[in-house]
């Protein structure tokens, strides 16, 4: 138990990063490239911060934050549902940039440029880890069976999968709402474990962090975001830190990975596993062919 206590800040960082990564992945698997994750993270975080500061308990707060995320996502969905891939990416990033701008200008609610301080840190570590575990199990569950196959099919060919009976529009809206809920949950976890929330916590660097987690871990496989979050959040504690140049190193790693290894580390591991399996089963006669 002492390891958990000693590494509490690192585990908090990993949890938030993993949730952000899953939020992007849930949408992306359904062919929805959404930057709105950070916008939902921000709105969820500010809402949670204000409720907690108002004396609310952690579960009523969590419930309100998640319901609000669903409503906001359903409000945005009609405008987004007709958009093609790049348009969708742009419109969802516009939403996130708008929320960031609002966070600075709507000072009475958000604390303006300084942000909000002294938010009650009400979420105990075991419950935080349990929340992350629930999300991972749910993501894993939607990636297998009929649901998983339908989602994979519509990502590869929306038209063809629609003709095979997949309700593409409904699945994509569901994925967008799911992504919003997990994004808002990340905001709640951040606020209720760190106790501070401001423009610096929702800026462009969070967009980069979420994509880093996704790219490092592998964009499509369910363990990907967890793997990415552990590496991004955990490595600096053990490896001698690059200090101020952390962000530069992080950006270069992402660039090299997306250009040369689009499957991420999960892809590297899967490929190595396939290679080992192939070597074991291969017969000399087959190798010559």
């Amino acid at each position: 138990m002492s390891w958990f206590a000693a590494n509490a800040p690192m585990l908090r960082t990993i949890s938030v990063l993993a949730l952000l990564g899953y939020s992007v992945q849930i949408a992306l698997r359904a062919g929805v490239f959404s930057f709105a994750t950070v916008g939902f993270y921000a709105t969820g975080g500010y809402l949670a911060a204000n409720l907690l500061k108002g004396g609310w308990g952690r579960y009523p707060t969590l419930l309100v934050v998640l319901v609000a995320a669903v409503l906001l996502a359903l409000l945005l969905a009609p405008a987004l549902s007709r958009l093609r891939f790049l348009y969708l990416a742009m419109a969802t990033l516009a939403f996130t940039l708008f929320v960031q701008s609002l966070a600075v200008s709507w000072a009475t609610y958000t604390g303006g440029a300084q942000g909000l301080f002294a938010i009650p840190r009400v979420l105990p570590q075991p419950e935080m880890l349990a929340l992350v575990a629930v999300v991972i199990v749910l993501v894993w569950a939607t990636q297998r069976g009929a649901t998983g196959r339908a989602i994979t099919a519509l990502r590869h060919d929306a038209l063809l999968s629609a003709s095979a009976g997949v309700d593409v529009a409904r699945r994509q809206v569901n994925a967008f709402v799911g992504s919003a809920v997990v994004g808002a949950l990340a905001g709640f976890v951040q606020v209720s474990t760190f106790g501070v929330f401001g423009p610096a916590d929702i800026g462009f660097s969070v967009v980069v962090d979420a994509l880093t987690v996704l790219v490092v871990g592998g964009a499509m496989a369910w363990p990907g975001p967890l793997l990415g979050a552990v590496l991004l959040g955990g490595l600096p504690a053990y490896v001698s830190s690059a200090g101020d140049w952390n962000l530069v190193v992080q950006a270069i790693v992402v660039l090299v990975l997306v250009v040369y290894r689009p499957d991420g580390l999960a892809g590297v591991v899967a490929q190595a596993a396939r290679g080992l399996a192939a070597r074991r089963t291969r017969r000399p006669a087959e190798v010559s062919g």
């Binding site: 958009l83 742009m90 994509l211």
Partner: protein, 296 residues
């Protein structure tokens, strides 16, 4: 009122210069370059480095130098990022997704380096770089930097429209956008054309960066993000790839912002811009120019 229109027009000219590059790269090459704002920031940063930090270079040299730096930077992105992705991608969908993520990483890289150079502080250009003079036209006042901005936009807009509509390279780019394989069969080199197009978009971002830096005189690492938001609104209103519609949308957006700030509350500007974005997405998602020549 007339004064607000003059200010809105010069702001709109900067918006248009910035949005051109984003729109052309998207329409022609299917690249949503989210590092466009960072390249714009590098243009402003170059002006600051050339005048305040390293030497005291005059404005007539600073402007082309910063434009050149940004063109070279964009070219480097094409050679180091876009081209390898294009050559390695399994399919077009994967190429599009990978490219967008790579541009976010490039933006993060440029912003992180800029944070180091500026020390995380907003920086100002020296007063001597551009002596701002004001001309009184009777009904409104206009500064000489505003005149320079309007003149450059008045040259760049028609030049771009000619390039895309009439020149051989522009026709080839449109062919590439409609059908990449077919264009290749007729002898269009995707690599050469991408390099040229991306360099032009970088130059435009750099131009907008220097002009805005002189106009507002505050240079900081994150200055591109605000402009990216405005450019998204312009592209959603205008549609992708049309120079004329982009100019119209940029001017309308800048006028709306200026008038909201003048007659209402300035902090409501972005709320109004986002409301415009959502309204257009619901009512006319293809923008005022329609689909035009970009890929379906």
């Amino acid at each position: 009122m007339v004064q607000n229109i003059v200010n809105g027009l010069s702001l709109g000219a900067i918006y248009a210069l910035f949005a051109f590059g984003l729109s052309i790269a998207w329409a022609g090459l299917n690249i949503l370059n989210l590092a466009h704002g960072a390249i714009f920031m590098v243009g402003a940063l170059t002006a600051w480095l050339l005048t305040e930090v390293w030497a005291d270079v005059p404005f007539v040299v600073v402007l082309p130098a910063a434009v050149l730096v940004c063109a070279v930077l964009a070219l480097a992105m094409e050679l180091l990022v876009f081209r390898p992705i294009r050559h390695r991608a399994r399919d077009e969908h994967q190429q599009t997704l990978t490219t967008v993520i790579a541009t976010v990483a490039t933006a993060a890289l440029l912003i992180a380096v800029a944070e180091h150079l500026t020390g995380g502080q907003p920086r100002a250009l020296p007063q001597s770089l551009f002596e701002v003079r004001t001309f009184d036209l009777g009904i409104a006042r206009i500064t000489d930097i505003q005149l320079v901005i309007l003149a450059l936009a008045a040259v760049a807009g028609p030049a771009l429209a000619w390039f895309l509509g009439r020149s051989l390279q522009g026709r080839a780019l449109r062919a590439l956008a409609v059908d990449r394989d077919m264009a290749r069969l007729t002898g269009v080199s995707a690599d050469r054309l991408s390099a040229l197009t991306i360099a032009v978009t970088g130059a435009l971002a750099g131009l907008a960066g220097v002009l805005l830096a002189v106009q507002i005189n505050a240079i900081e690492a994150h200055m591109g993000e605000t402009l990216l938001f405005k450019a998204f609104a312009i592209i959603i209103i205008a549609g992708v790839g049309s120079i004329g519609a982009t100019v119209a949308a940029a001017v309308v957006l800048a006028l709306v912002e200026t008038l909201v700030a003048a007659y209402w509350v300035s902090s409501m500007r972005d709320v109004v811009v986002f409301a415009l974005i959502m309204a257009f997405l619901v009512v006319r998602p293809q923008g005022i120019a329609g689909r035009g020549w970009q890929r379906a």
